[in-house]
């Protein structure tokens, strides 16, 4: 290998070192600048996070209590309905002697008439 090329290779090696150092230095400076900016100018959501978070927790608690009360009331209402419906069913669907009630017969006739019409079509 000629002296000229060796010299050029030496300069190339120097360029690797200097070049990488400068690139790292530039991007390191930017990295530090970003870290400083993130501290100096945090996002507004984060700034108000403290008091807002406490408020949110409190309102969440009262919300939960409301939901619990509603759930209990609903459960009790549904229990009453279940007691009523079986009585209605025994009253409406089947007569005291066990034959179908008038309502049930009328309902079945209506369904059959609608099926006849469909058949004719």
């Amino acid at each position: 290998m000629s002296e000229e090329r060796l010299h050029a290779l030496g300069e190339g090696a120097l360029l690797i070192v200097v070049g990488m150092l400068v690139v790292f230095a530039a991007l390191f400076i930017l990295m530090v600048a970003i870290m400083i900016m993130n501290r100096l100018f945090p996002d507004k959501v984060k700034k108000t996070e403290g008091p807002a978070l406490a408020e949110a927790i409190l309102s969440e608690q009262s919300e939960r209590e409301r939901v619990a009360v509603l759930a209990v009331a609903l459960a009790k209402a549904m229990e009453k309905e279940r007691e009523v419906i079986p009585e209605q069913r025994t009253m409406n669907a089947v007569g005291p002697s066990g034959e179908p009630s008038r309502w049930a017969i009328a309902g079945r006739e209506r369904v059959m008439r609608s099926r006849e019409k469909a058949g004719r079509r």
Partner: protein
Amino acid sequence: MSWDSLRNLFEGFLGIRDEWEILGMMVIGCVLIYLGIARKFEPLLLVGIGFGILVANLPLHEFVHIGGDVGGEPGTATGVLYYFRKYLVDTEIIPLLIFLGLGAMTDFEPMLNYPYTILLGAAAQFGVFVALVGAVALGFDLAEASSIGIIGGADGPTTIYTATRLAPDLLARVAVAAYSYMALVPVIQPPVIRLLTTRKERLVRMPYAPRRASKTAKILFPIIVAVVGGILVPRAAPLIGMFAFGNLLRECLVVERLSDTAQNALMNTVVIILGITVGSTLTAAAFFEWETIMIFVLGCVAFIFATAGGVLLGKLMYWISGGKVNPVIGAAGVSAVPMAARVCQKEVQREDPSNFVLMHAMGPNVAGVIGTAVAAGVLLALVPGMMD
């Protein structure tokens, strides 16, 4: 009507007879068009470059004509693509406008959320300098070697900017090599990543908790980039400055029309012109030389070492952080945005489909753009003095 004038009807065929190499170039142009359209490898660039190669190598070279055979005096040059090159590419207007558009399209939030990822963008510039030394070893001078080495930055405009200033004769080949390898990032990077990382490292999860950089930080950042870059590497100030300006247009939120134009209309226009112009510079005379093959080989070497540099620093971060940093994201320091970041995501998902590192990889990916511009600035500052 004489026989000579009738011959002009067949001058296309006579041109091929006189310059048969242009058929080879037309095939190469068609291959690039195929890669862009059918395989969807960087279609925005390869379709234009491929078509530019195709039309510039048609008989009689009407698109880019240098010489006096058809009108004009000997030594004059004509052709629409010649004028594009002379007045838009050689004057650096097009590369700088592309950087303006790139800045307007770049979201620095992942990098602002995780600032340490910037250093991975710096490490990936290792490929630039390794390819430079390789080029010197193969007999290129420092200026040519710098233009070849900058291919490793995976940044087309920076490559064109550097080659225009240091080695204009190599512009065509290094530009085509740079854009071709950018399109091949999904092919080049995965083997390097797998070679340098273990399965355990690739399985590292990095939960992304977006911390939302403040609006003030997002506005100040491009200004700081322009000032720091302009002071440290003034030769690259046009590149870094235009990039920062584009980003400022995006982040200030008071010039949305301008930001929209920079990201869309302007970017599309300059990419069309750049693609076809860069392709048109690759003629048969320039291509079929040993130098061209060496440039393409060195370009591949540059990409490989750039990926390796980023991954190795990623491994160091993995070790320092006690296993919290997935070293694969270092490969995204190669500034083919966002292709390199997607490659990292894909490699990680090969091991664990539920692992997502894409947002972490975007940090080094965008940092790499700044890193490549800084590397170009170093070369532009040092190499002319070293050549004297």
